[in-house]
């Protein structure tokens, strides 16, 4: 049995001409909260579908909790919890009935945990699911997922469309409800504020490829912003006659060029100088800016820009 909770090797999935996953090799160790970030269409949902065995890869392989994804046993399936953004539940059923149904599927079910987590939300067991607000449905779903005592909890943009109060309760329940066992949490989100507060590892995907897997702090340290008086950059970017090492993005503010680069040390200043730039300064960047720079670097743009 592997030590990884999730492991993929050269995983590729093609839909027609489009590569949803492109030779993805990703290992996620057990324990901790791992955030997955990527633009829409980066391949996150496809990755989950393949991992859970709902779909088969075009090539490559993946394992979940030590088992091949296309041959998952009922036992391993029972150790995975899943909460998605839609919080889809049968609207005509009462909360208590849905809970009982769910409970019957999961042998590890712990009622104590369910009660502790649901207490963060105002959910009446006699209510029909259709009558719950989006935040309450999210809370109900999380309560059920945690009560299953999963080894792996997958949360796919769970706080999307939740108001501040519901979001706060959701995060609090997720982080502080005591669930003793080692649980690995995969958290997909576009909310950088949430990611900064909860993530221990930051996985960034783009166009079906893995482009980062490190702590958020280490990732942030990879990106730096250089400000310089450098008129030549316009023609360099147009003509592509000079390769700017680690280039991510650039914008002009008050006649100064702000250039974001990745994996460049202090010698990038020397490079700028050699290219005729002056008044060079280096500024640190925050996590949100670093992630945005990464995701926009290869984003499709109209050719005229």
């Amino acid at each position: 049995m592997s030590d990884f909770c999730i492991s993929t090797k050269n995983l590729t999935k093609q839909f027609g001409k489009k590569l949803a996953l492109n030779n993805l090799t990703l290992n996620i160790p057990q324990g901790g909260i791992h955030a997955i970030v990527g633009s829409n269409g980066a391949g996150k949902s496809t990755l989950f579908r393949l991992l859970l065995g709902f779909d088969t890869p075009t090539s490559g392989s993946c394992t979940l909790l030590g088992e091949q994804s296309d041959q998952l046993s009922a036992r391993v399936r029972g150790r995975v919890g899943y909460v998605n953004e839609e919080h889809t539940l049968p609207g005509w059923m009462k909360v208590a009935a849905v809970k009982e149904l769910q409970q019957s599927f999961y042998p590890n079910w712990n009622h104590d945990i369910y009660n502790k987590v649901i207490a963060y939300f105002d959910v009446d067991p006699k209510q029909k699911v259709a009558g719950l607000s989006r935040g309450e449905r999210a809370g109900f779903n999380l309560s059920m997922a945690l009560a299953q005592r999963p080894s792996l909890l997958i949360l796919d943009e769970p706080t999307l469309g939740l108001d501040v109060v519901a979001r706060q309760s959701f995060l609090e329940a997720l982080m502080f409800a005591e669930t003793e066992e080692v649980m690995t949490t995969i958290y997909c989100s576009h909310q950088m504020e949430e990611i900064e507060r909860i993530a221990e590892q930051l996985i960034i995907m783009e166009k079906g490829r893995l482009i980062n897997n490190s702590t958020p702090d280490d990732f942030c340290a990879r990106v730096s912003c250089w400000v310089a008086d450098w008129d030549a950059i316009g023609s360099i970017l147009r003509n592509k006659n000079v390769d700017i090492p680690g280039f991510l993005s650039h914008r002009e503010i008050d006649g100064q060029q702000h250039i974001l680069v990745v994996d460049q040390g202090d010698d990038f200043g020397g490079f700028l100088q050699k290219q005729g730039a002056h008044d060079i300064a280096q500024l640190p960047v925050n996590l949100e800016r670093a992630v945005n720079a990464f995701l926009t670097a290869n984003h499709n743009k109209p050719v005229a820009l």
């Binding site: 901790g32 609090e172 507060r197 221990e200 702090d217 640190p284 925050n286 996590l287």
Partner: protein
């Protein structure tokens, strides 16, 4: 069991400093300004994490760094406390810190047109003042 002190520190997202660094800076300032006195008990990982709405492991990381610096120490089964006798820094670290502080000081004062002797005199008096109070 004694209750932990309340830490009046704040963390913000979107800062250039990661959250664990903000906690370290915050607690160091509380200790330096004596709002946290030697021997005070610190909140638990979970307690401070709940207060700041962050992952408890981030608090653990900040506490580990503060322990390494000798500012706080753990007492088995009792929790974490502000150190009574702070561990002294190595000679190298002391030299570096002094050099850094002097650079900042000189940058701030060089344009004020005082003579070297005058500046040295002011510093000497100030140090004397701190030692007698």
């Amino acid at each position: 069991m004694s209750k932990p002190s309340v830490l009046k520190i704040k963390v913000v997202t979107g800062d250039i400093r990661p959250i664990f660094k903000q906690i370290i800076d915050g607690i160091r300032l509380e200790i330096a300004t004596e709002k946290l006195s030697p021997g005070s008990k610190l909140p638990s990982y979970r307690g401070l994490a709940m207060q700041l709405m962050i992952n408890p492991n981030t608090v653990a990381k900040a506490y580990a760094e503060l322990s390494k610096q000798g500012l706080i120490e753990s007492k088995k089964g009792l929790g974490l406390f502000v150190s009574e006798n702070r561990q002294s820094l190595s000679d190298d670290e002391r030299e570096q810190k002094l050099a850094k502080a002097v650079t900042v000081f000189i940058n701030e004062t060089v344009h004020l047109n005082y003579s070297d002797d005058e500046i040295v005199e002011v510093i000497k008096n100030k140090l004397k003042e701190i030692k007698t109070t």
